[in-house]
Structures are given as structure tokens and as C-alpha cells.
């Protein structure tokens, strides 16, 4: 068989072999992590530095507007940002506009309790889910405690120590919407435009392109996009943990990003092989 025939045959290979190569390409780096270096991309740096330089006791709303389908990408970001806030003395207020986000956000705060010994209602607040979407965003701009009468655990928000000085967006330094949908844009339209609160987005890699107009217009201060951003943020938080002598590092996003990188390189390789076969078969015709 000539090289030309080989490539033409390869370009028509059954899809199950492609699936198999991708599967192997993803599994091997998960078992034997290559630990590629992390370098913070410009958008991630903007969000990280913004939180890093907030005065102690500032409040940040972390809205878990995502569901388990995008959890591998978005959930590590949520966990890393929660830890970052607590490590810097910033109080994260967890909430969600999607009913499935409640369980994921709760998981992130439970991990923060375990790793950082964070105390509920003092170091963080978790309000849970509230139905209404854009109406909830608007309501928080008037009075957070009237939208959320109780937190996720049933405690009256008027009785929560950490929420005493908080009335509405005027007391919030930043809102980050973690999502796999267009909800961060809703935050920009209603929370930023109407009330002027700073907003950032944490989204999946495929939807990142949709949000650049909001960054350029200054409606978002920055954006965490996809698994890469999750790995970069996780790495940065690990460095703070190391500085503080806390050894409980999280490497889930870093390991998944290494596997993801191999997967993406394989896709590039497939496209090249497919095109060589396409060219050779065209020349033959």
C-alpha cells in the first residue's frame, strides 16, 4: 500500500477508532499527569487580581448559575474562587438562579469548610436558590434580605452575622456569574447597567466568545473561560495555600486540563490527517 492510499484509507476510517484514540488520549494523562505549566491568561488575571486586592471584609456574590452538565469545567472555578475569597478575608455570598446549582455551590462551600476551616454565616454565606431569574437580579439591587428571607439552611437572613452590614448591590464589591448559558449577560444587563455593581463571568470554553462584547464595553471586569481558566485559577489558589502553609491543594482542574490539552492536540492531528487524505483523493480524481 502506497503512502497516498494509506492516508486516503485513514481519512475514511470508522469513527469508533477515533473514539478509541480520544479515550486513550484522555485517560493516560489522568492516570499519569504530565503537569504542564500554568500561565495565567489576561482575563483570568483581571478577575484574580481584582479579588486579591479587595479590602478584607468586602462582599462578593458568587452566583452558581450552572448545572451538573457543565460542572467539569465550571465547578472547579467556583471552588477555587470560594477558597480565594476566604483566604483573602473577602466574604463570598453564594446563591444560584438555577435550581441545580444549589447542590454544586453547597459542595464548594462544604469543601471550603473542610480545607480552610471556614465558618458558615461568618466567613461565608450561602443563600441558595431563588426562582425568578432576572427579577431576582433586580430584587437584589433593592434589598437582598427581602429577596432571600432565609438562607439555604433556613436561617433568617436578618439574623446572619455576616450579612448585618449588607443591604443591596451598594455593599457588594463584585458579582461573578458561573454559568454554561447566557445568564452572565443577564447579570450585566440588569445588575451592572441598572445598579452599577461590578460583574465578572465564569463560563464554559465554547460559550466564551459570546461574552467578549461585554468585556470590551466594560460591563464585565474579566472572565474565566473554560477548563484552562479553572486550572489557572486553581494553580494560583494553590500558591496562596502554599504561602499560608496549608497543604490541602486541589488539583482536579489542573489534571483535567492536562487531559483536555492532549485531547485538543489529537483533534488538531485528526484534522491534519483528514485533510491530507482529502487532498490526495482530490488529486487522484
Amino acid at each position: 500500500m502506497s503512502v497516498r492510499d494509506f492516508f486516503i484509507k485513514l481519512s475514511k476510517i470508522d469513527r469508533k477508532y477515533i473514539y478509541l484514540v480520544i479515550l486513550i488520549g484522555l485517560i493516560i494523562p489522568l492516570i499519569f499527569p504530565p503537569r504542564f505549566p500554568q500561565k495565567m491568561s489576561p482575563q483570568v488575571k483581571r478577575v484574580f487580581e481584582y479579588i486579591d486586592t479587595l479590602p478584607k471584609g468586602s462582599y462578593v456574590i458568587l452566583s452558581a448559575d450552572y448545572d451538573p452538565s457543565v460542572a467539569p469545567e465550571v465547578h472547579p472555578m467556583y471552588k477555587a474562587v470560594v477558597k480565594h475569597c476566604i483566604l483573602r478575608g473577602v466574604i463570598p455570598i453564594g446563591m444560584t438562579l438555577g435550581v441545580q446549582g444549589a447542590g454544586l455551590a453547597l459542595d464548594a462551600f462544604t469543601e471550603a469548610e473542610r480545607v480552610l476551616e471556614a465558618r458558615r454565616d461568618t466567613d461565608y454565606v450561602f443563600l441558595g436558590y431563588q426562582a425568578g431569574g432576572a427579577v431576582v437580579i433586580l430584587g437584589l439591587g433593592e434589598d437582598i434580605k427581602s429577596v432571600y428571607k432565609t438562607d439555604y439552611f433556613g436561617t433568617k437572613t436578618t439574623d446572619i452575622y455576616a450579612l448585618k452590614p449588607v443591604k443591596n448591590y451598594r455593599d457588594i464589591a463584585l458579582v461573578i456569574s458561573f454559568s454554561g448559558s447566557a445568564l452572565p449577560a443577564t447579570w450585566a444587563v440588569y445588575a451592572y447597567t441598572k445598579y452599577g455593581v461590578k460583574v465578572a463571568a465564569a463560563v464554559t470554553g465554547v460559550s466564551a466568545g459570546d461574552f467578549y462584547p461585554y468585556i470590551q464595553a466594560g460591563q464585565f471586569i474579566g472572565m474565566l473561560a473554560g477548563m484552562k481558566a479553572a486550572a489557572e485559577y486553581e494553580d494560583a489558589v494553590n500558591r496562596i495555600l502554599k504561602e499560608k502553609g496549608i497543604g490541602k491543594f486541589s488539583t482536579s482542574a489542573i489534571r483535567m486540563m492536562d487531559a483536555n490539552s492532549i485531547g485538543q492536540l489529537l483533534i488538531i492531528l485528526f484534522i491534519i490527517i483528514g485533510n491530507i487524505g482529502y487532498f490526495l483523493s482530490r488529486r487522484r480524481k
Binding site: S11, R15, I18, Y19, L23, L26, F36, P37, Q38, K39, S41, P42, Q43, D67, P68, S69, A71, P72, Q100, A102, G103, L104, L106, D107, T110, E113, Q130, A131, G132, G133, V135, V136, G139, E142, Y152, F153, A208, G209, Y212, P213, I215, Q216, G226, K228, A231, M257, D258, N260, S261, G263, Q264, L265, I267, I268, F270, I271, G274, N275, Y278, F279
Partner: protein, 207 residues
């Protein structure tokens, strides 16, 4: 009586509330603010009621399908899963150590994440078969795709200025096209909203 309830009253309500809320946005008077606060409460109450409708609709749909041999097993699993999660949540609570949260973390999350992750396999197969250099536009698209795919890997960190190049592609050519689409959609939303408020667009009440 039916046209009055199904069409005339909803159209009148939308017209009156649409005009009031549009004017309210520009009036900073306390009465205007009270109207706004009350409307937010009303909205949240209506959104919560929608969940009751969703549950009723879900149960009705799957109860009907229980009679169909082909779908009965799936609908039975759907109803049982719904009932089990609801009962566990009501009885044991939804705290971090609850059975509800354990089932959510160990069943719901892996199931949904796995289903979505299958996309990686379909995408790689589709890219292999469909991504062909057939002309100048396809070549530009492919070069851009290569840079973005490579630039969003951690291996791309070994190449100097890779992050900056990816950022430029996303923040300049990508942004230009997205903004054009967004302006078009925005104008469409404004036009449709005005038509709905004025009762010109009536598809939402059945035409």
C-alpha cells in the same frame, strides 16, 4: 366568555402593565419605586408558581406514557426518581451531610456530566470528517481554529505570546461579529416587545 378570558384580558393586562413599567423606569418618584418593588415581588411569586405547573405537567405527561408499552419503563423510572428525590429531600433535608446531597453529588452530577462529555467524542469525529480546506474562507477558518484550539491548551503556554494572540482573536475579529449579531438581536427584541405591548403581535395568546 372564552375569548374574553383567553385573549382580551391577557392583551389588556400586557398593554396596561407594559406602559406602566416603561414609564416607571424613567420616573424616580417614591410611588413609582413602590410600584417597581411590588412588581418584583409579583414576578417572583409567579415564577415560583410556574414550578407547580411544571411538576403537574411532568406527572401528567409521564402518567399518560405509562400506558404505552414502548415508553412505560422510562416514564416509570422518571416518576419513581422524582418521587424518591422529593421524599428524601422533604424527610432528610438538603444539608451538606444529607442523603439528598449525597445522591445529587454521586448520581445526578456524574450522569449529567458524562452525557455532556460525550460531545468531545462526537466533536473529534465530526472535525476529522467535515473540517476540510475547500477554499480561502475554509483555510482562514482552519488556521484560526488551530490557533484557538492550540492556544487554549496548557501546552500552548510553551509558545511565547500564545495567550495574547488567542486574546486578540477573541477580542477583535470574534467580538466584531458577535457585536453585529447582538445589535441585530437587540433591535429585534425592542421591536417585538413594542408589538406585544401594543397588541400587534398576538402569537403568544394563540394568534
Amino acid at each position: 366568555m372564552r375569548p374574553l378570558l383567553e385573549k382580551k384580558i391577557p392583551l389588556a393586562l400586557v398593554f396596561i402593565i407594559g406602559i406602566i413599567m416603561t414609564l416607571q423606569y424613567f420616573v424616580p418618584h417614591p410611588i413609582s419605586q413602590t410600584i417597581y418593588d411590588n412588581s418584583l415581588m409579583w414576578n417572583r411569586a409567579i415564577a415560583s408558581m410556574a414550578y407547580i405547573m411544571a411538576v403537574v405537567s411532568f406527572l401528567r405527561f409521564h402518567s399518560r406514557r405509562l400506558k404505552d408499552k414502548n415508553y412505560a419503563p422510562y416514564s416509570l423510572v422518571a416518576i419513581l426518581s422524582f418521587a424518591a428525590m422529593a421524599l428524601i429531600g422533604f424527610i432528610g433535608g438538603t444539608g451538606s451531610d444529607s442523603l439528598f446531597q449525597k445522591m445529587y453529588n454521586n448520581m445526578m452530577v456524574p450522569l449529567q456530566a458524562t452525557t455532556f462529555s460525550l460531545l468531545a467524542f462526537y466533536m473529534s469525529s465530526a472535525a476529522y470528517r467535515a473540517f476540510r480546506i475547500r477554499g480561502v474562507e475554509a483555510t482562514v477558518l482552519m488556521i484560526t481554529a488551530f490557533i484557538i484550539i492550540f492556544g487554549t491548551t496548557t501546552i500552548g503556554n510553551y509558545v511565547p505570546k500564545m495567550n495574547e494572540i488567542v486574546e486578540w482573536i477573541m477580542a477583535v475579529p470574534n467580538l466584531a461579529s458577535k457585536r453585529g449579531i447582538m445589535i441585530g438581536v437587540g433591535l429585534g427584541v425592542v421591536a417585538t416587545s413594542i408589538k406585544i405591548i401594543l397588541g400587534i403581535e398576538r402569537n403568544w395568546v394563540g394568534g
